[in-house]
């Protein structure tokens, strides 16, 4: 299990870099995005291993991703959205969207509905994670501010 977790975390990091390129994120920030993608996935899998439901795991992962995005944003003096958009990608329920569409056209409506709602639940978990963590005042994150040289 641990080995698989490590492989997936690395994959999450590299995949996140891939999407960073597509969104035109500056190259010097790739490494930060990759880290956030990896941390988010680790949290998600860790929560699942501890026995939480999928939506809870996604929520916890989203919280971790937004927190680290905001810290990184202060540290690199960049908008937090940049890191957030890339880092949240591993949590997007691509598989559920696919299954919902697949069941729908094969007339398995019960399954289609349940996949669709799972996707929706995951989306809402992401939304809640983002909304709550952005309510934390900026001051908390200011400790990550890079130290300036003496004037």
């Amino acid at each position: 299990v641990i080995g698989k977790l490590i492989i997936e975390t690395i994959a999450s990091a590299i995949g996140t870099i891939g999407f960073s390129v597509l969104f035109g994120i500056p190259r010097k920030l790739y490494i930060n995005c990759a880290l956030i993608g990896a941390v988010g996935w680790l949290m998600y899998k860790g929560a699942l291993l501890l026995g939480t439901g999928m939506a809870t795991a996604v929520f916890l992962a989203a919280v971790v991703i937004v927190l680290s995005s905001r810290f990184t944003a202060v540290y690199r003096q960049c908008p937090a959205t940049v890191f957030l958009i890339a880092g949240i990608f591993p949590l997007v329920p691509g598989a559920q969207i696919y299954w919902a569409a697949y069941y729908l056209v094969t007339n398995q409506f019960d399954n289609a509905l349940s996949s669709g709602f799972t996707a929706l639940k995951v989306m809402i978990a992401i939304v809640l994670g983002i909304v709550f963590v952005f309510e934390i005042p900026y001051k908390v994150f200011a400790i990550a501010r890079p130290r300036k040289k003496a004037k």
Partner: protein, 269 residues
């Protein structure tokens, strides 16, 4: 609007400041910044150059600016900003510029304007890089979906071909809905092709990874943030944009499966 010679110099300056603020706002909005950031940046630029009367109303696809009052010259401008792709590097650059302006490093307005022009002309990442990145994203996210080595190779190839389609056919010629429906269909078609020729064993994992490059991450994330900030109109528009894309992808996937099922006459997966 070019008859600046007849206006007193102070009016011209205020107009120029508002113009530059508007240009900065334009770049931010067009490339995927939140509404509140756009407003804040425009405000910061105006205040720094001593224009107190600037008022901005920012929507997801337009900026309305007015300025003027008893002591400052009048200025009003509406700019329509079509929703296009996101270039977060430009958002980062304008953000940096606005910080430097408030630190007083651009006391001459024209140098700030020059810098904005530079930012706006920042070259896009080369096409082949984007294509490879799309393959990388697809392949590695297939690992997250639970795919094995062969599945991921298939997703990698699909991701590459998908982005070739997006860059050369989808973006220049098709609207968003049609582009994403075809995109979803293409993903399923390519993955089915790989699956039937024996490259990869798990179709669902392959497809889950390979549709990721179509996912509207920027619209979705910004929509949430705008709604959380209370910018309901813009947030709702962006969410609608994201949902439209999600649904289009799903339709594309569904349509391709029905075609395949129709051809083979049954469920086989």
């Amino acid at each position: 609007l070019e008859n600046n010679e007849s206006t007193p110099s102070s009016l011209r300056d205020e107009g120029r400041v508002l113009e530059i603020a508007m240009e900065a706002g334009h770049i931010l909005l067009q490339n995927g910044a939140e509404i509140s950031r756009v407003e804040e940046t425009m405000d910061r630029i105006c205040k720094h150059y001593g224009v107190e009367s600037g008022d901005f109303f920012v929507l997801s696809n337009g900026i309305f600016t007015t300025g003027g009052g008893r002591r400052e010259g009048s200025y009003a401008r509406v700019r329509h900003i079509p929703v296009t792709g996101a270039r977060l590097d430009k958002v980062v650059a304008v953000n940096q510029l606005s910080r430097e302006i408030s630190q007083g490093r651009y006391e001459d307005i024209e140098s700030a304007a020059e810098k904005l022009r530079e930012i706006n002309e920042m070259p896009e990442e080369k096409n082949w890089r984007q294509i490879v990145a799309s393959g990388m994203g697809s392949g590695f996210f297939c690992v997250l979906a639970g795919g094995g080595l062969l599945d991921c190779t298939a997703a990698f190839i699909t991701g590459i071909l998908l982005y070739v389609y997006v860059l050369y056919v989808g973006k220049p010629h098709l609207n968003k809905i049609v582009r994403n429906i075809f995109g979803g269909m293409l993903v399923v078609l390519l993955c089915l092709g790989c699956y039937l020729t024996g490259l990869g064993h798990n179709l669902s994992h392959m497809i889950s990874g390979a549709i990721m490059p179509l996912v509207p991450g920027v619209a979705f994330t910004n929509g949430i943030r705008d709604i959380a900030d209370g910018d309901y109109i813009s947030g709702a528009v962006r969410m609608l944009d994201a949902i439209l894309v999600f649904v289009s992808i799903a339709i594309g996937v569904g349509v391709m499966f029905s075609i395949y099922n129709g051809l083979t006459g049954g469920i086989m997966l």
